[in-house]
Symmetry: C2
Subunit: 221 residues, 2 copies
DNA sequence: TAACTATACGGAGCGATGTTCCGGTTAGCA
DNA sequence: TGCTAACCGGAACATCGCTCCGTATAGTTA
């Protein structure tokens, strides 16, 4: 992933040094702003933080979704790659599914407003939605099929619906924090054991997702 | 519902006739606009439709939530009142709960963007959120407690969490329509038998809610 | 090294939307 | 009929997404 940008066909039309520098600045700035102000933070804020103008941010990331995807890409990929691994390592497909869902939920819940953005019907986030779906639906599908084949879950729920439902359930939780900002959480933000935060007034997205997944085990009606 | 407004203590400080006329115009206009453009429709549009100025709409309904609540109030009340009735009429508490949830879901799904607004962390909708909760949490609580007492559901999920989860699951579906506008739907918008619409790309909020509720039947982990 | 050009930069500016404010209008009453 | 408090309307201000274009510069070539 690191290295430069495109490097596949012929001689790469290498970008100018200042362009690449600015792109990186924007990614860093966006990552920081997303943590504090959420994925919906004003574009101007991100541009200002990166020390660039409005034109620059839109040149590098035509839509907000592009920026969001760029910031979270490797985390989504990691989640996607964890699917097959879990399926291989777990005692049963349904256990693998549960674990994978936990992974996904933990990712969503720790990103302010990400889940809400995924749910948004805003045209701006169409691409983001599509990216998540492209990456995760196939993975979830395999887990779901394996579980269904083992007779461990009902078969009338597809991966798309399940992922959307999970995203929805998480949107209620993560987004609510908003401007409140959860104390420090200095640097880390990865191994922070995000355990039972429950965030606002007692809504626990993880628990509700667990209930949902448990509902999959109930035989078809 | 009809009649005037406040009529409880002392001599009501009756509003002027034009004020009441405008308030009603706004309610009618808002109801119409909500159907086609969703609850998030621009304030100007509603004001224009009602044939009043910006000042007027804000004077009668200081926040958008106030307007939304006023438009849907009696439907929410109906939903709240259906709870005890279902509990009395159904074969078992869990059946009553399921039926009541269906009622609630049908209500949410048919109101463009309502569920999304409920989920929104926007301060503007705080009041709306609170209103729904005030009205429905007690009802849901009774159903849930009855079901738990009968040993039909797990007991670690409270009414608040369940309602929020349901709202979330519905937000994904209803909001997606957005600007697309569903044909005419001239006046009615009540007995339209909204059956199995499924709306966008195959996500069925009702089904996912059913899975969630089914998950409640799984014994505590 | 100096000139040149494709590339990139920056921010002013436009349109949309929420919200406030204030001068003009009018309903209800004496 | 005349008065006043209540009410109305929309201009005006603020925020935000997004575009456009004149300016600056990185990289190249003579």
């Amino acid at each position: 992933m690191s290295d430069s940008g495109e490097r596949s066909t012929t001689a790469a039309p290498r970008k100018r040094a200042d362009a690449r520098r600015n792109e990186q600045s924007l990614l860093d700035a966006a990552a920081e702003v997303f943590v504090t102000a959420g994925v919906q933070a004003p574009v101007r804020v991100i541009a200002a933080r990166a020390g660039v103008g409005m034109g620059t941010i839109y040149r590098h990331f035509p839509t907000r979704a592009d920026l969001v995807i760029a910031v979270f890409r490797h985390q989504v990929d990691a989640c996607a790659q964890a699917g097959p691994a879990l399926l291989a390592d777990s005692a049963s497909p349904s256990v693998a599914l549960t674990r994978w869902v936990d992974l996904f939920v933990d990712f969503l819940v720790t990103k302010h407003g990400l889940a809400a953005a995924l749910q948004s019907d805003d045209a701006q986030f169409q691409t983001l939605h599509a990216y998540f779906l492209d990456r995760l639906v196939p993975v979830c599908e395999r887990l779901l099929e394996a579980a269904a084949a083992a007779g461990e879950t009902r078969s009338d729920v597809d991966a798309y619906g399940l992922l959307r439902a999970i995203g929805s359930l998480c949107a209620g939780a993560a987004g609510a924090a908003g401007t409140t900002e959860s104390a420090g959480t200095t640097g880390g933000a990865d191994t922070t054991e995000v355990a039972g935060v429950a965030a606002d007034s007692g809504y626990d997205a993880r628990r509700m997702v667990h209930v949902l997944v448990a509902g999959l085990a109930v035989p078809d009606p």
